[in-house]
Symmetry: D3
Subunit: 245 residues, 6 copies
Amino acid sequence: MSITQRPDGRATDALRPIVISRHFTKHAEGSVLIEFGDTQVICTASIEDKVPGFLKGKGQGWLTAEYGMLPRSTHMRMDREAAKGKQSGRTQEIQRLIGRSLRAAFDLEAFGERTLHLDCDVIQADGGTRTASITGAMVAAYDAFSQLKVRGLIEQVPLRHFVAAVSVGVYQGQAVLDLNYVEDSGCDTDMNVVMTEAGHFIEVQGTAEGAAFDRNTMNQLLDLAQNGISDLIDLQKQVLGLLGN
Amino acid sequence: MSITQRPDGRATDALRPIVISRHFTKHAEGSVLIEFGDTQVICTASIEDKVPGFLKGKGQGWLTAEYGMLPRSTHMRMDREAAKGKQSGRTQEIQRLIGRSLRAAFDLEAFGERTLHLDCDVIQADGGTRTASITGAMVAAYDAFSQLKVRGLIEQVPLRHFVAAVSVGVYQGQAVLDLNYVEDSGCDTDMNVVMTEAGHFIEVQGTAEGAAFDRNTMNQLLDLAQNGISDLIDLQKQVLGLLGN
Amino acid sequence: MSITQRPDGRATDALRPIVISRHFTKHAEGSVLIEFGDTQVICTASIEDKVPGFLKGKGQGWLTAEYGMLPRSTHMRMDREAAKGKQSGRTQEIQRLIGRSLRAAFDLEAFGERTLHLDCDVIQADGGTRTASITGAMVAAYDAFSQLKVRGLIEQVPLRHFVAAVSVGVYQGQAVLDLNYVEDSGCDTDMNVVMTEAGHFIEVQGTAEGAAFDRNTMNQLLDLAQNGISDLIDLQKQVLGLLGN
Amino acid sequence: MSITQRPDGRATDALRPIVISRHFTKHAEGSVLIEFGDTQVICTASIEDKVPGFLKGKGQGWLTAEYGMLPRSTHMRMDREAAKGKQSGRTQEIQRLIGRSLRAAFDLEAFGERTLHLDCDVIQADGGTRTASITGAMVAAYDAFSQLKVRGLIEQVPLRHFVAAVSVGVYQGQAVLDLNYVEDSGCDTDMNVVMTEAGHFIEVQGTAEGAAFDRNTMNQLLDLAQNGISDLIDLQKQVLGLLGN
Amino acid sequence: MSITQRPDGRATDALRPIVISRHFTKHAEGSVLIEFGDTQVICTASIEDKVPGFLKGKGQGWLTAEYGMLPRSTHMRMDREAAKGKQSGRTQEIQRLIGRSLRAAFDLEAFGERTLHLDCDVIQADGGTRTASITGAMVAAYDAFSQLKVRGLIEQVPLRHFVAAVSVGVYQGQAVLDLNYVEDSGCDTDMNVVMTEAGHFIEVQGTAEGAAFDRNTMNQLLDLAQNGISDLIDLQKQVLGLLGN
Amino acid sequence: MSITQRPDGRATDALRPIVISRHFTKHAEGSVLIEFGDTQVICTASIEDKVPGFLKGKGQGWLTAEYGMLPRSTHMRMDREAAKGKQSGRTQEIQRLIGRSLRAAFDLEAFGERTLHLDCDVIQADGGTRTASITGAMVAAYDAFSQLKVRGLIEQVPLRHFVAAVSVGVYQGQAVLDLNYVEDSGCDTDMNVVMTEAGHFIEVQGTAEGAAFDRNTMNQLLDLAQNGISDLIDLQKQVLGLLGN
């Protein structure tokens, strides 16, 4: 379908190779390495038996997310945020997005006064780190809740619906799915979409970095995202062993 | 068109009363008080004769934005960010949005090695402070550039296109335009849209705070936003004396 | 009486036009816009139903103040303190002064375990922002306490005495009242005086920025301040409707 | 003259025993231990061969001051400011006062592009630490400039006039000089005065912590301060060997 | 030789299985995943073409190290240092140790005005993270310098000597090599030793966490460390292809 | 025994003149000025009637240490850490070392739920400030506990064993005891040793700043340290009046 060749030769509507490795590290209740092509993110889910002050005594749980990049996960080494003493606006924006997306995936009232901490740490960056984080954190969170269930602390995983995320954008005049770093740096429009397995929107964040984009382009981008997310959710379920056969 | 009554009785597609007062304070090159109903924001535009390090010697300008709320602009007093020693993630997210939106409005290569600082300070908050900020900052920036032109430092205002912003959302099952605080607190979906005078998108940021929303709702929301922004841009031009008669 | 002309033509013992606008914003229990000429400060008073740790259980209240300037309230844009991550020494000095002055105005033991937060935010600066802040905060605090009384939570406004503040200084060899920015920048001596309606001192802070000043000058300055403050307290009472007729 | 006995038996117009020890530590260009009774402050003066950015190339010098208290200089241990990561408002207020006072003592245009750093560190606190700091820093600064002169880098100590400082206050209804901690904690009014050897004012900072004070009390306090400072300046000159015989 | 069984059944003088994987991530000039049993650390070496201010113009290079732990690399989730806004004392102590150790390994004067940044990020912690970091960083640094050589920017890797590190300690009365987390938590004495390939000491840091230890124990610990480090250096050379045959 | 002359003419195995002055300031429960030659440190011990959160309700005490340097305690003025808003890595490393060393000296379970705060503030630095701090803090802590005993709050000083510390190093090829600043700056190896009165090790921290050192040198250094510490502990006991006669 594509006229312009994408830098890695993919079709405009093709995801990069996606790999989700569960049980990646041993301490966390859920631990996933997710790869979107060369983008690699470790997503861990940790359960703590208390909630923030504003929820104390309300009988419900909380879910929160943090995001970081190793200093040399990127082409040029970035300063370490812990050493600088503050998280960038970009980091905070991303971790707020991950938190909102995953709070939509689970029923916060159904796992007691516990907090699920999601940590998404980028080991290697090649575009799409926030969408890989959301998609991987979904699996890590599911694993952590499954462990709570195995330990008899909840009756079932408090799932509302699976969520996954993907980026779409306009690269050299063409709407494309799942941009890598080269495409991301050179694109006119960049949009991150988070959807449920039912194809409903959780988050849409689109930015025209070059030319403003029209309604028609918007529709093409949303179509691409919807298909990509559908595939990602299938993969999530498959690695979790939730797909029948 | 609305079945459910909105809290202030507006039609679902009606903006609140919008007032834009230019020359609100005396020191800034551009200074605007913008009101979206009870939401009041002071937007100032300040010109500095230098650019950040990464642009030095490139012969182009820069535009940056900061956002703040007076501690008692809100229903309950908030802690002062200067006293806490850091800006919240929300503040940083908003000021990054304002900056990106206004950088799309002007040609950064056409006003020399200067920085335009936009400061959006909320005096009174009643929902929609970020969209009011963008819409007011557009006018303040225009005024600041006009002053540069009057002083003979640039030949014309380096305008690419007017931009304005509005929020839309799903309140009690209905798509509505320009949510006030009561609607914003109770809504299922909240979307902020920034568009150009040509009806093209600069930014779309939609969040399902309750139920995820479907593509049809997405389309209704974008329609509402497009009409609202068109009216806002007409008003911007009118207060700037740019509408013929 | 003056030989040297003051920059704005005032007599040496004349205040600038003073305007006090109550109910300036809608959320705060007390909200005042005070203008000393071109200096404009929003003073809000917020009541919180708890006290700091060191007062817990002692049955008395507390009153505290914070001060800020919008980045472009001044001739040249200042860095935003929230973005820098700390309040300057000047800011802290001023907010400590406002707090001490207003604590002297009210009986802290007479309004229960509550904290009155005063926020003084400078919208436009032209000299005398700290004295305008104190004078305006007095009215905002009175309004907030009045509201507590109306709601039946206290029996009467816990007033000890009205306080107001004004600056005096030596400008071009002459003692003058209520310095504006031009005078303030060029003066040899700058003194801020806070007094009660009985003409007693709450605070005196005088600094010789150029030549040291002698006892005689000190006396002239205190005379000027005493008269100016008397007029300011009359105005406070008048806008509050406390002056009989 | 006193009716009420002061806690340590002093006359109302008596200073505590004052000791100024020069060359207290070995590295600093000027180093003084000053004692006002049990209050002990190490004041060092360090010369650096550069000036802050705003003075670069103007051919003049700068003088700046910092103040600190050892954590257990006080009755109860205070948190260490370096560990808390910020200086309190009180600390900043005091170091700004010391800086202004000493800048008035010297001719900043007469010692080249150098910065004199004054560090006043309280070893033991018993009231009056800021006035002891100013009085001791005067001697340390003089010593540092003398060393510059000995090294042939300036022709003479750039002295405008000696300055010293003392506190006065109203303790149990009586105006008293040089309050110790017990008096300071219990007094109604506390005033810090900085004067020159000619008896002119550099700084006056008076605060009514209890009852507001009248003009008559103000005059008594200023009289006490003037006499105390005169004695302190005599002592400064004596320890520096500047008094003839 | 051991009487008490070690938790994982090792001999007292046995290292855990050590794995060093080069080229672990793709952007860094050197990138190593090092495993000491279940302890896993990503060590990257990044070359920057400038030196810190204190070395500018001296014609020599610099080497610096930073250390971090992913929040859930540990048994219980730790707070993220970037979110807390500061690095702990432990983190700083470790990164200073890594930096000093690696600066001893290379000739800083032999690679021009460049900085080698070493980042050691713990993915999974099970005791000995600082010694694994040093041992892995040695390989990453070697790779980075090799790349500089391949690019013709230096003539040879500026090696002084290989260094590696290991922990030793007294666990249940017995001197043991390379403590894992269980041993580390329960040991009386913990010592980290950094040595060169010639068996000379770079760093020795021993701490008696329980009973103080005598000179005889000290000697046993140093013997164990020397043998362990010798094996580690052999492995470093082997993975780098520097062992002949 | 020495061939090379040490800068101050001492024998290689000689301590500098050591002076320990108790009751140096009046507020602290224990207050010592310790001098190792020109190095002067004020060590205070403060008792607080509570413990950190992690020990609450466990019936035992805690001991913690902080360290600081006056800005001009050094040859060149250092920035004040309180003004910079953070403690350096070196400061944190030293205060952690002091804390661990002194926690080994006392039985934390034998003085109730109290915290002993040790503050070591360097007044004048000439090498060996951390070892002087530990040695002086031992005496200050002993005095503080003695006061608790006198007040009847504990039955006896909860002493496990006396500890003291000294530095050793290789200066111009020779192992020497108690390095002053000149030796410390120029030495190849620097080692800080903390031992008990029984000659057992609490801490050993050795760093090869120049050439790596061999096992033989290690042994010479430990011998020197052991003798020096033995003398220091004798002096501690003597000034505390604990040596019989």
